[in-house]
């Protein structure tokens, strides 16, 4: 699986199976407010780190982060906590779909952290770090099965 295929899989889970209205790529805090972002939304942060080495010759490991965001009422802490909790549940579902839908194993427990005022829209939610193992691209499978290349 390459990065493009990974993006497509994640996008389909976020938009088709969960109640997110938008999926974006990049760092949310680098984008100005008021550009028509829809909430709740999910951002896939870049860069994606690809570890070709540590997983041995049959697989590689992709590390990336996701931001699941929604808009709380301004200066309303309780609403912020409620919204973060809602997003927390969406992330639970997201991880289950990811595990079920995609043919790779999640490794190194996904770690989430609650965030608030994360971008110019003052969105809150959960930031999730993920590491996944996936198969390697190889025209000649013998290469990765019988040698150490």
């Amino acid at each position: 699986m390459n990065i493009n295929q990974l993006i497509e899989k994640i996008k389909s889970i976020v938009l088709e199976k969960l109640e997110f209205k938008a999926f974006y790529i990049g760092n949310t805090w680098d984008n100005a407010a008021g550009k028509g972002d829809k909430y709740p939304c999910a951002w896939m942060e870049f860069p994606v780190m690809i570890d070709y080495k540590s997983q041995g010759k049959h697989s590689k490991q992709l590390s990336f982060s996701m931001d699941f965001l929604t808009l709380p009422k301004l200066d309303d802490t309780q609403d912020e906590i409620d919204k973060i909790s809602d997003i927390e549940e969406y992330v639970d579902q997201f991880l289950q779909y990811l595990k079920k839908d995609i043919d790779f194993s999640l490794v190194d427990l996904p770690v989430g952290i609650s965030i608030k005022s994360f971008n110019a829209d003052n969105a809150c939610g959960i930031r999730l770090d993920l590491k996944v193992n996936t198969g390697r691209f190889c025209l000649d499978p013998i290469c990765y099965t019988n040698t150490t290349c």
Binding site: N27, E45, S63, D108, I113, R127
Partner: protein
């Protein structure tokens, strides 16, 4: 009526002060790779010398007491990403940000009290430079006055 003597603050002078400020700040451990030093800029506006720097300039100067309000985790995440810091094995960026936040909360941040030193160095440089400039201007004025008086006679 006496003439008003004016002097110009040249770009070279501002650059000289900037260099002195940077050298002074680079003496502090941890600032060598910081964006703070690169953000420095001296300006001369409305008869005042103004130092422009990133907004956390004052916080680095004063440090942070232990058990003070926690640093926002969001700011730490952005900082880790901007600096391309790769967490050690078994850690994620979220883990690292949380660990840094907790560490700062427990131990605080040691102050780097550079502001007073910058003011001192700047005043020294400016007094020297302005004294030189003024002496030249005063000498010019005196010689003009003398020429004028001699011409009259």
């Amino acid at each position: 009526m006496a003439n008003v003597i004016t002097y110009d603050v040249t770009k070279e002078l501002l650059n000289e002060i900037l260099e002195a400020t940077k050298i002074l700040m680079l003496e502090y451990k941890g600032l060598q790779r910081s964006d703070l030093v690169n953000s420095l800029e001296w300006k001369y506006e409305d008869n005042q010398f103004v130092l422009i720097a990133n907004d956390y300039f004052q916080y680095v100067d004063t440090g942070r007491k232990p058990r003070a309000r926690k640093v926002p985790i969001e700011a730490l995440i952005k900082w880790i990403k901007r600096k391309n810091i790769v967490p050690s094995n078994g850690q994620s960026i979220n883990n690292l940000a949380y660990a840094i936040q907790t560490a700062i909360f427990r131990t605080g941040i040691v102050a780097k009290p550079y502001t007073q030193r910058i003011i001192g160095v700047t005043i020294d440089l400016l007094s020297e430079e302005l004294a030189t400039q003024l002496s030249v201007l005063i000498a010019d004025e005196i010689s003009k006055e003398l020429t004028f008086t001699l011409g009259k006679n």
